[in-house]
Symmetry: C2
Subunit: 275 residues, 2 copies
DNA sequence: TAGTGGTCTAGACCACAAT
DNA sequence: TTGTGGTCTAGACCACTAC
């Protein structure tokens, strides 16, 4: 019969998607609400069920709806936690992840597994070591309300940690403390931590580990922790983007005439100086 | 005939997708290569064309392939630039975006449009001003090799910039300079810049503005620039995640509380020190 | 013009959730 | 059991690319 474009413009599936998207974004349909059934949409728009399904595919891939077999299609909820780098890289020996979750009325939990491992090319180049060098590897899985939210794999250079209290990250009196207090405790206080952030749709393995729904990208962070001369640690962090936002703060150094650079001086007051 | 699961396990479309995904990720099919045609896949897997298309939908939504009508399906290329916060928020009055692009052998270009604007609730709360206050708004579109890559909308508090040389961000001798040198020039050197990073699939408007392909999430950054007492600026930044990665560096302050400094001391295995 | 991918129909059966 | 969404077939026509 009528093949595709009926009265208006564009394709039928896009018209259906646009109609529903409007209702979702303008609040007519609210998070958790049920959309019309596929059959109702077939009747409303006078098209085949495949077309309706294609329209719902779009909305699902946009992260706007959840489709529950046998139940219906609902508007997806979004209520992320915030991962603050400043919390993770401060001196206090608390667990920043737990703090973030509890502050948002969620229940945090994590598992960890530490073992010796030999590194591949990628980690080797980040640590400045030879491929195959033995390092201390720790895998973490962090849960929010029993839902996996973040995967971390950390590699620590044994040259610096071997035989110290922090050789095993989750043992000893600094178990669970952040990188900064741990390495400070062995006289190797980090001077800089660098995060490289990449974003893409999840791989099937990540989809499974994080129980990710369609339309939810993952955030991948490669971190390196260093002192002036050495690289202490590197880590791969995988985050489900529907559960976390990131917050990064950058401290701007005051202008210190031309003589001195920023060294061990607690940030002084910023005078209105000319350039 | 045979409805779905033939010999092996799972659904046919997932088997097809998995076979192709393997070839892409293990390098049998390389970026730019053409996949088999839909008809060839129909013949190979002995299923209907709809099922083959569903499999390709998956790969497209994973960002792995491009589908070009009349030509074929190809393996997508990924070669992002790096947005370094340290570059954007430093003192040098250069254009960091151009520098990043040129370093990667790409051609940068951007447009800008500055005007007075009255702010809505979101920007108002970020600037600590009343809704409807007049601010200086500037919209930027940044292109890499003539492809739009980043949208920035910046709102500057006129209370501080009115009548100064930086009142219009893209005029005067500091045109195009970063936030730090510009505000420093009027005696309001920023002390902290905070970025909140959110990730999700693109809205249709964003898809169009950034000419985004299926399976490419957007990165949304809300930035605020402040001195100790005041909020100077806030901005919304939208980035196509296939064109940019982010790099954030965090400087760890030396310990100044006690006389203890870490510094160049190669201190190996020493006993546990109190934090 | 030939061949590619894009949209659509009409109908079938399966899997899961609610009752 | 009923109704929801999930997978699949077989076939049609449209839109674009390359030759």
């Amino acid at each position: 019969m009528k093949p595709m474009d009926t009265p208006d413009a564009g394709h039928m599936y896009e018209r259906i998607a646009a109609a529903l998207r409007d209702q979702i974004t303008n609040g007519t349909l609210r998070p958790g609400d049920r959309l019309p059934t596929q059959q109702e949409l077939v009747d409303t728009f006078g098209c085949s069920r495949q077309v309706v399904r294609f329209a719902l595919d779009l909305l699902e891939n946009e992260g706007l709806v959840d489709r529950i077999q046998g139940f219906g299609t609902t508007v997806r909820k979004y209520d992320p936690l915030v991962r603050r780098s400043a919390l993770h890289y401060r001196d206090m020996p608390n667990a920043p992840f737990a703090e973030e979750a509890l502050a948002a009325q969620r229940t945090p939990r994590y598992t960890h597994h530490t073992r010796l491992d030999r590194i591949g090319p990628d980690v080797a180049s980040r640590l400045g070591l030879e491929v195959g060098t033995e390092v201390m590897r720790t895998d973490y899985v962090s849960y929010v309300d029993d839902q996996p939210a973040m995967l971390v794999t950390s590699y620590e250079n044994l040259e610096y940690t071997r035989g110290t209290v922090i050789e095993k990250p989750e043992e000893g009196y600094l178990a669970g403390a952040g990188l900064v207090p741990r390495f400070t405790a062995i006289g190797r206080r980090p001077t800089k931590i660098t995060e490289r952030v990449r974003v893409r749709p999840p791989r099937p393995a990540e989809e499974e580990m994080l129980r990710i729904k369609p339309g939810v990208p993952v955030i991948l962070i490669s971190r390196t922790t260093q002192t002036r001369e050495t690289i202490l640690e590197t880590a791969d962090i995988i985050i489900a983007s529907n559960l976390f936002e990131l917050e990064n703060s950058f401290v701007i150094e005051p202008l210190v005439s031309t003589l001195e650079q920023q060294h061990e001086r607690p940030a002084s007051q910023d005078g209105p100086l000319s350039v």
